[in-house]
């Protein structure tokens, strides 16, 4: 059974069709990136999935049931949403204690999740003085209260510094390695390419494509080598069946190949290499190609 299943989902806000007959599935134990330009309907879809917004048509199920029909959903699904507020006068710890009580979660768990997101030192400070990054961490702490098997995050990297983004990526990967399923939305694709197993790409409320990241980016990397013996390397690579071309007098570009193969070819031919780098086609490029969106602010 899919951890998350969206079927024929449609949502109309007045005259605006925010989500248009959208269907996709998220397999258990994976990180799935939910990507699309701003205004593609990502937030609306996630909010329908979480029972906050009523769909006009279609269904959105977690673990095969509607979120609203889960008893104490915190134990099944944890969500970090944008624009989910905090009372500025309440401390981080009290914010979590209120939610923990409502979900029947013991108070000890509050301190545990605060430590998990590195907020233990700020636990008794009022949220009003928190930075955006700290609020994101507090939101994540709230999502973890019930130790859920599914995490749903809407643009969680907003407000995080690069170290914070790296921390989040590592954190999500460790959750998934522990058996968790993660659905994370983003309009920034580069940061997702490094962490997601598969992606769901949407535009204008409709599904563009869904699949493993490797499939969308076309598999192999491009290896670029700087060497004074460029022509000899090109010949050596071609002899191994690698698609290699010269790029100027001292560069060779090999396509759809790993650095291991290029390195072995270099060693066997006894060549000198100054520099070698591998480039994976960016998810960003694949995304732009698929959506026909030239990155214009929409």
């Amino acid at each position: 059974m899919s951890a998350i299943s969206v079927q024929g989902l449609t949502k109309r806000f007045g005259g605006v069709l925010a989500v248009d007959d959208l269907s996709f599935d998220v397999q258990p134990g994976t990180i799935t990136g939910f990507v699309g330009p701003n205004g593609a309907g990502k937030t609306t879809t996630l909010r329908i999935l979480l029972g906050l917004v009523r769909p006009t048509a279609g269904t959105a199920l977690v673990n095969g049931v509607r979120y609203a029909s889960l008893d104490r959903p915190a134990h099944h699904v944890g969500a970090v949403l944008e624009a989910s507020g905090f009372h500025p006068g309440r401390s981080a710890r009290d914010h979590l204690r209120v939610l923990a009580l409502a979900s029947g979660i013991p108070a000890a768990r509050v301190d545990a999740v605060l430590a998990e997101v590195d907020l233990a030192a700020a636990a008794r400070r009022r949220v009003g003085g928190f930075s955006l990054g700290m609020r994101q961490r507090l939101g994540l702490a709230a999502a973890l209260l019930g130790d859920p098997g599914i995490l749903i995050l809407d643009e969680p990297t907003n407000g995080l510094d690069p170290a914070g983004v790296h921390w989040l990526r590592t954190f999500l990967r460790s959750r998934v390695d522990g058996g968790c399923t993660v659905l994370v939305s983003s309009h920034l694709l580069a940061e997702l390419a490094l962490s997601a197993d598969s992606v769901v790409i949407v535009k204008d409320g409709r599904l563009v494509t869904q699949g493993p990241v490797a499939e969308l980016t076309g598999g192999g990397a491009t290896v670029r080598v700087r060497t004074p013996q460029a022509e000899q390397l090109r010949v050596a690579l071609t002899a191994r069946g690698v698609d290699a071309v010269l790029d100027g007098p001292d560069h060779v570009v090999a396509r759809d190949v790993g650095t291991e193969v290029v390195g072995q070819a270099v060693a066997q031919a006894g060549l000198v290499v100054y520099e070698m780098s591998a480039h994976r086609p960016a998810l960003e490029d694949a995304f732009l190609a698929l959506t026909g969106d030239e990155g214009s602010p929409s």
Binding site: L52, V53, A79, S84, G89, V98, L99
Partner: protein, 244 residues
Amino acid sequence: MTALIRSELLRLRTTRATWGLLAAALVLTLGWEAMVLSGIGGIDAPARGSAELRDALLGSTGLGMFAVLMLGVVAATSEFHHATVTSTFLATPRRGRVLGAKAAACALVAPPVAVLLLVVAWTTGVLAGAISMTVETETLSVVARSMVVAACWALLGIGVGVAIRNQTVAVIVPLVWFLVIETLIPAYGLSWLLPWLPGGAMTALAGGRYPGAQAAWVAFLVVMAYVLALLVPGARAIRRRDIT
């Protein structure tokens, strides 16, 4: 449901507005009491040690009930004001239960507040030498009645907050209603309407006497009718609302 109510009680306890309103209730009560005390000996003023003076002093807590009303209003609107409603409804998708727990929490908090205000008012009166230190049966019945009245004010506040949702508007509307509109009713010759209005009914429930005032139980039913008239459509709208 018990867990939800405890959660809402904790929410109230960890909000500074709650303590600010409690302080306001004390200040309003003591301020009114100071006026009553300073009037002793004047024309038409109740005499020192009289039952009338005791009732007037204990009646000072009536003004503090506005703070209890506001407690309900703030409890109901704060979640929309601070956008905490998202995490609240994520934890408890059954929104009607959340509203019910809020109403229950406020109705539980209000009676002890009324008792506290009465104790402060009574003690101040005793210390000022205006009333004797003996606790009469009438005093205890005022306490019991005030506890019910306080719970009703809190519920009315919840009703107003749920029906209006916008915190600023929900704070202003009842102030204008009770302090301006209902006070002007007699001036327009509409005094017959008073027993059927929320403020008039609340006064009757608190034991206030005026021409046409209902018996306490009728006044209680009138107040509850207003609470339900506000709460039910308001709750229905919130249950259907898209939280974006």
